[in-house]
Amino acid sequence: MHHLDAEELKNLKIFRDLLPDEWTEVYALLNRQKIIEGEQLIREGEQAHTFFIILRGHFMIHYGDGRAVTLNKKGDIIGWSSVIRPFQYTANVTALTAGEVLSIPGDRFLELLQKNAELGDKLVKRVNELVSKRQAID
């Protein structure tokens, strides 16, 4: 990923408030991943080790009881359980279309948040905002 990509990614809602130094540290953890239609990114109950940010594509978050919600907006977050105890995925996530995501290793992200409390605060606030806006299905 080169500097233009970095500019584009910095504009994602989750990263907007970051200072240049904070952004450099987070950017070093990001990986772009191409996804194919039908690919299952996350399995409910498995150990959560990665979380994802949608760049493009349509994804379905679904549970064992048949409930589901779909996400297709750039910047939507999937798999946040990888940074919250007990670090287990609470849903399945399957790609409805081919797409692209940013994948971030949860343990390294958590290390970063723990090392830098201010950065952790900013990111957790942003994620809570984004996740709470998501369509509720309770």
Binding site: M1, H2, H3, L4, D5, A6, P20, T24, Y27, A28, N31, R32, K34, I36, E39, Q47, H49
Partner: protein, 375 residues
């Protein structure tokens, strides 16, 4: 009273000499650097603690010392002396490495190749200082800046030097942010450091799946002695890229590599006993080790400048320093030095390409040296 004196004569206090104390100091320094300064803690803390364990004088014959065949430490050390641990670490490294930056711009692989010149020039330097060829090869591989590779080759060629070579290799890897920047600034101009890299193309999943298979076949057919290291490196990578084996990749890059790192670090440290480490050879190893890092960095930088004479789209020569395969520290150093000139110049992901190619190059170099010395 006699019993008390007998007991005391078997304690470490009675058996220790000043050299043990020096080594204990070195061990504590490593632990301090690892914990307080955050210098490669995953390596320096087990190694440092191992040094403490190895320099507690013990009564021979009770199966306590790492060099006694019936001791626990000796059994754990088996993985080092037989070259088992380094390939397992490489498997974990493969399972956590993303080769897409390398696949997007394969020409950067040559910077990784150029940096391995440090291995062979150091080999010559060690021969010139009077080391035997097997020792010189083990010292030369420090220039590959790859701890597992250095330990693997030394275990095959010069077991008695594992301690000082491992300590030298890991110490200099931790000091990459100190060693490299002055050389990078010396050998490049400001204009060169400001060069921006062009956007890399997107790499497909299929390419990332096929790459480890092609790479292992090509590299191991060329240098079969590199098979244990590169075979497991690319196995780990294939497990990662084939999503269906994510569980295995996850195990390789977490529990397996962490377990092996603890055992390797601790036993290498414990093998670094005063009588093995505090010798004139160790001084030579440390001096040559430092030189090898400097030569490797310089070779990568200069090769990048030579490449720019022929390339239409210039590459930032700082990337040459990332050919030193201390992953990802040398890539981070490139990022740091590049940003010092231009805050918006993100070189980190571009630097990962020569960085990971350096891992491949150093393993091939180790295989070649092994086959030369043994063959």
């Amino acid at each position: 009273m006699e019993m008390f004196l007998d007991f005391f004569s078997n304690t470490g206090f009675a058996l220790a000499d000043y050299r043990n104390l020096i080594m204990l100091g070195i061990g504590m320094l490593f632990i301090y650097l690892g914990i307080a300064k955050d210098y490669e803690p995953l390596l320096l803390v087990p190694i440092g603690f191992g040094i403490l364990l190895g320099n507690i004088p013990v009564f021979k014959g009770l199966g306590l010392s790492i060099y006694e065949s019936n001791s626990v430490l000796h059994y754990l050390y088996y993985g080092v002396t037989q070259g088992i641990y380094p390939p397992l670490i490489f498997m974990g490294i493969g399972a956590m490495t993303d080769f897409s930056t390398l696949l997007a711009r394969p020409v950067l692989m040559l910077l990784g190749a150029a940096a391995q010149t440090g291995i062979f020039l150091t080999f010559l330097g060690a021969l010139a200082l009077g080391f035997a060829p097997n020792e010189a090869a083990s010292i030369g591989i420090i220039g590959g800046a790859d701890g597992p590779t250095a330990i693997f080759l030394t275990a095959k060629l010069a077991k008695e030097l594992i301690g000082p070579i491992a300590v030298a290799a890991y110490s200099y890897m931790a000091l990459v942010p100190v060693i490299q920047p002055p050389i990078m600034r010396l050998l490049t101009t400001r204009k060169e450091r400001l060069i921006r890299m062009e956007e890399p193309r997107q790499v497909s999943k299929r390419e990332k799946l096929i790459f480890p298979i092609i790479a292992v076949l090509l590299c191991c057919y060329t240098a079969p002695a590199a098979l244990p290291l590169l075979g497991l490196l690319f196995l780990g990578n294939l497990l990662k890229e084939a999503v269906v084996t994510e569980r295995l990749a996850q195990a390789a890059r977490t529990s397996v590599i962490d377990t092996v790192t603890i055992l390797l670090g601790m036993t290498v440290g414990a093998s670094t006993q005063a009588n093995v480490f505090l010798t004139s050879k160790s001084i030579g190893i440390f001096v040559l080790g430092a030189l090898s890092f400097c030569i490797a960095t310089a070779a990568g930088l200069l090769f990048a400048k030579i490449m720019n004479l022929f390339l239409k789209q210039k590459i930032n020569p700082l990337l040459g320093a990332a050919g030193v395969s201390a992953v990802p520290d040398s890539a981070r150093v490139v990022q740091m030095v590049g940003r010092a000139e231009d805050d918006t110049n993100f070189l980190l992901m571009h630097a990962m390409a020569p960085n990971v190619s350096g891992v491949i190059g150093s393993a091939v170099g180790a295989g070649i040296l092994w086959s030369f010395i043994v063959g």
